[in-house]
């Protein structure tokens, strides 16, 4: 079902954990739908110098968060904001069609962390970061 690379990121996730003095923290998803992603970023001179994540979710959710951290570490905030869900999935060598929705949280959690970073700087993030989808199923989750 999953590519070797997906399984590699699942079994050896990169950058797992927390950053105690993070400059931005973003959490998206919810327990009801089965995925929560939390991203911690450290920013220096507009560059993401460190990133860590915690994920509750399926193999696809864990692997996408892992590879997404690798794709933004050492990059500028602008570059990180460009990271799309599609690019993450491609970098993993693809995901089964019914698993794509489990991967979108990676992009969203990075955006949420960057938005938090801006907010802490006293900058309104909405125009820079854009809309953040809190959940992977277009708002279907969390509804009774």
């Amino acid at each position: 079902m999953y590519t070797e690379l997906v399984m590699d990121h699942f079994t050896n996730p990169r950058n797992v954990g927390e950053i105690a003095d993070a400059d931005g923290i973003g959490e998206v998803g919810n327990a009801k739908c089965g995925d929560i992603m939390k991203m911690y970023i450290k920013v220096e001179n507009n560059v993401i110098t460190d990133v860590k994540f915690k994920t509750y979710g399926c193999g696809s959710a864990i692997a996408t968060s892992s590879i997404a951290t690798e794709m933004i570490k050492g990059h500028t905030i602008e570059e990180a904001l460009q990271l799309s869900n599609k690019a993450v999935v491609e970098a993993l060598g693809g995901l089964p069609a019914h698993k794509i929705h489990c991967s979108v949280l990676a992009e969203q959690s990075i955006k949420a962390a960057i938005a938090d970073y801006y907010t802490r700087q006293g900058i309104d993030p909405t125009l820079i970061v854009g809309e953040i989808h809190e959940c992977c199923h277009d708002g279907e989750c969390g509804k009774e």
Binding site: T11, G17, M37, G57, C58
Partner: protein, 396 residues
């Protein structure tokens, strides 16, 4: 290499050597069409007749002509329910009672009938995963024609009060069907004593081949055909017979109903050893009644983790099991069975079903119990949900 442990026998089972040996000649020499008059056709025909006698006998049926071979449990369920409902509808009986946690082969069939104008009542299965006879009695109406309640649930393994339901339905003149796909070989079944009018079974859950099953339909119960065509199965179910599959089913069921009580003792020991070990893990729970369950099946939830990632790790360690999380059910919601017993979504996502067979050993169970806590620890360590659960515990 790791140990390999197959603990997903509720999903399917390994074909047994006995079954394979019995099937092979029907795939090689006896390839004739059972409807043909030459000898290799007639040999196949005779083998099917014999298989029918064997299956009837294993169920305690009065007559072998009460057994119809199908392509599996799903077809048997579809046929029994749709076939009976359409005849009952002509008598104005358009109300059917079932339960909330039936297999999709039953539930989706009932959905289809609902669209045709039938009214369906789904009984609650409560926290323990058991239907209440009282609630069935209360649900019965003037126009109730059919009750279909599964013998044992495929996900949590709970066994329903089938004999009581059967006796009640017989007294009321209501047709009673049960999906016994998971129960065969695990529970002593006698269709006559239990007042069962129709029963579905499937070969691949009892070490037989996939794609073959049977419907028991008591003489006197009328059902419409589901598959029209040739005159096979006494004009009731068309299609050239799956001779090897049918013979395989008959051997599988013969072995499955052998010494049930003694074999259950061993399987229960494995099951209980697993349950006791698994429940030692913090924030875990057993789903469904502890006693009224299949001897070889257990379903446990672990808070703060998601089922698919648990299964992937178990697979990585050589263990085959299953889960009812959304990501394994292929939909946005966790399994309807776990929701039916009242589990919140976030807990249902962390479910694990372990189902043993006669072939499993104590070493298998101990290996699972050795690997499982490490995996759960690892997944919880990276789970923001677990972090939240722990914070709430501390009252933060």
């Amino acid at each position: 290499m790791h140990r390999f442990v197959y603990a997903d026998n509720s999903a399917t089972t390994k074909l047994s050597k006995n079954v394979l040996d019995a099937m092979l000649p029907h795939l090689t020499e006896n390839y004739g069409n059972p409807s043909s008059l030459y000898s290799i056709g007639q040999n196949a025909h005779a083998a099917i007749d014999e298989a029918r006698r064997i299956v009837a006998n294993a169920l305690g049926a009065n007559k072998e002509n009460e057994i119809y071979f199908t392509s599996g449990g799903s077809e048997a369920d579809n046929w029994a329910i749709k076939g009976a409902a359409r005849i009952l509808a002509k008598k104005g009986k358009k109300h059917i009672i079932s339960s909330k946690f039936e297999h999709h082969a039953v539930l989706h069939t009932l959905n289809a009938l609902e669209k045709e104008g039938f009214e369906i009542t789904l009984l609650d299965v409560h926290e323990d995963g058991l239907v209440r006879l009282e609630e069935l009695k209360n649900a019965v109406r003037e126009d109730t024609g059919l009750v279909t309640i599964m013998f044992a649930n495929n996900e949590i393994g709970t066994i329903q009060p089938i004999a009581e339901i059967g006796a009640f339905c017989r007294e009321k003149g209501i047709i009673f069907h049960t999906d016994a796909v998971q129960a065969i070989g695990n529970v002593e079944i006698n269709v006559v004593d239990m007042n069962i009018d129709m029963l579905s079974l499937s070969a691949h859950k009892i070490h037989g081949p996939k794609g073959v099953g049977a419907l028991y339909c008591r003489n006197g119960i009328r059902i419409e055909n589901l598959i029209d065509g040739g005159a096979q199965e006494r004009n009731k179910r068309a299609g050239t017979e799956n001779t090897a599959g049918i013979v395989g089913l008959s051997v599988a069921i013969t072995d499955a109903v052998q010494n049930i009580a003694a074999r259950n003792e061993k399987k229960k020991m494995l099951r209980d050893r697993f349950i006791d070990g698994a429940l030692k893990i913090e924030c875990s729970r057993l789903n469904g009644d502890r006693e009224k369950r299949l001897s070889a099946s257990a379903n446990v939830c672990f808070e703060g983790i998601e089922g698919e990632s648990l299964l992937l790790w178990l697979d990585n360690k050589g263990i085959c099991a299953s889960s009812g999380s959304a990501c394994t059910s292929g939909s946005l919601d966790p399994s309807h069975v776990l929701l039916a017993i009242g589990l919140p979504h976030e807990i249902a996502h962390g479910s694990l079903r372990i189902s043993f067979s006669d072939e499993n050993t104590v070493e298998d169970v101990d290996y699972i119990l050795e690997v499982l806590p490490e995996i759960i620890y690892k997944l919880r360590a990276m789970s923001p949900l677990w972090e939240r659960i722990k914070k709430e515990e501390k009252g933060e």
